[in-house]
């Protein structure tokens, strides 16, 4: 049976051969690559920046709406509900962006990977939370949006509004049942709805925590 020193020596030997056989394309590297180098997390940070901007814009509009309809609770309460949802979504995005901006790939591997995974876990949680809230948020959105364009959604009747919530919840429920039947990894939405993405993120957090434990 091979011992570990032999394994290490074998690896060292291959390292020497690699040094001789690999060719660094220094010209290509200097001409094209270095100037364009961007942070590996930049696409995610740009996405979060857009989400923060759109949430802040929604907050401004909703704040104005609530102030404008303050004396009419039938409009200010749905407006307040949407304001609270937009505020929570904004906080979640800002927290994630702050975490990502603190990520420095020169720091020890375990700490950085735990922070990244924690951020991913929160992102999945926020998306799920927004997805489940959507059927309930739809009715206040209809009332507020209607009011903004001069249409009174209350005129549709309480039955119609409740039916909207029921249909939204039913679609979500059916979506979750179907998602569980879709093979893992085939669809991001499927994995999200079936809870597989959250489970995977939780499992990775556990793996990192176990690795860091004595």
């Amino acid at each position: 049976m091979i011992n570990n020193d032999e394994l290490q020596a074998m690896w060292g030997e291959y390292g020497k051969r690699l040094d001789a056989s690999l060719k660094l394309n220094a010209v290509l590297l200097q001409q094209n690559n270095l100037d364009r180098a961007e942070h590996a997390l930049r696409p995610l940070m740009v996405g979060l920046g857009w989400e923060i901007a759109s949430n802040a814009f929604s907050l401004l509009l909703l704040g104005w709406f609530v102030a404008d309809n303050f004396t009419q609770p039938r409009f200010s309460i749905p407006g307040g509900v949407l304001f609270a949802v937009a505020w929570l979504a904004l906080i979640a995005c800002v927290q994630q962006l702050v975490t990502l901006r603190r990520i420095d790939f020169e720091e020890p591997v375990v700490a950085i990977q735990y922070a990244l995974e924690r951020c991913r876990f929160r992102r999945i949680q926020t998306t799920l939370w927004l997805l489940f809230a959507a059927p309930l948020v739809w009715v206040p959105l209809l009332i507020v949006g209607g009011r903004a364009v001069g249409f009174d959604a209350y005129a549709l009747g309480a039955g119609y509004l409740l039916a909207n919530v029921a249909v939204g919840l039913a679609v979500l429920g059916i979506g979750m049942i179907l998602a569980r039947k879709v093979t893992a990894g085939k669809s991001r939405l499927g994995d999200l709805l079936a809870g597989r993405s959250l489970d995977a993120a939780r499992e990775r957090l556990d793996t990192i925590a176990r690795f860091a434990e004595e």
Binding site: L18, L22, L24, N33, L34, E106, P108, V109, A212
Partner: protein, 166 residues
């Protein structure tokens, strides 16, 4: 600065190749990973302290990039360069290539963090250096390495026995 960076990279190009090989299954992903690691090393280079070993610093960055790269569900749709081949691998037929592939096959069976530790061990880093790169205690490195070395030895023997049968 750029010339110094390229010189250091030239001296440690095998490191990039080994990490990329350990964390990506196919050639195209490996080349993307090498490109991404080089980009991150270059971005971090202004903070590099020349009093420290370049390889230790580069390993931290490379492992962080590699593990993050594996995690991301969606690969980068745009390459850093049109043809991202920064390191060209000149194929070689020898026993050491076979050995390298065998060791990589063993690494593939480990989780990302155990894999990083074994990689550092194979590179000959001390327990203290492994602890510094990974951010865990030296005692923890020792305990984990003992367990992993036994597993590696057992798996390698099983792999060889299988090869002999076939």
């Amino acid at each position: 600065v750029e010339a110094t960076f390229v010189r250091l990279l030239e001296e440690h190009k095998a490191l990039l190749f080994k990490v990329a090989n350990a964390y990506s299954a196919d050639r195209w992903q490996r080349e993307d990973l090498v490109a991404e690691t080089v980009a991150q090393l270059w971005r971090s280079f202004p903070h590099y302290d020349p009093a420290r070993r370049f390889s230790t610093w580069a390993y931290r960055v490379a492992l962080n990039v590699a593990i993050s790269f594996r995690r991301s569900e969606r690969r980068r749709s745009v390459h850093l360069v049109e043809d991202p081949i920064i390191i060209e691998d000149i194929p070689e037929q020898s026993d050491s290539v076979h050995d390298f592939e065998s060791v990589n096959a063993l690494l593939a069976g480990l989780n990302d963090f155990d894999r990083a530790l074994v990689l550092l061990y194979l590179e000959g880093y001390s327990h203290a250096e492994c602890a510094e790169i990974l951010g865990i205690s030296t005692t923890n490195v020792g305990t984990k390495l003992n367990r992993l070395k036994n597993r590696l030895r057992r798996d390698f023997a099983a792999q060889r026995a299988e090869e002999n049968i076939s």
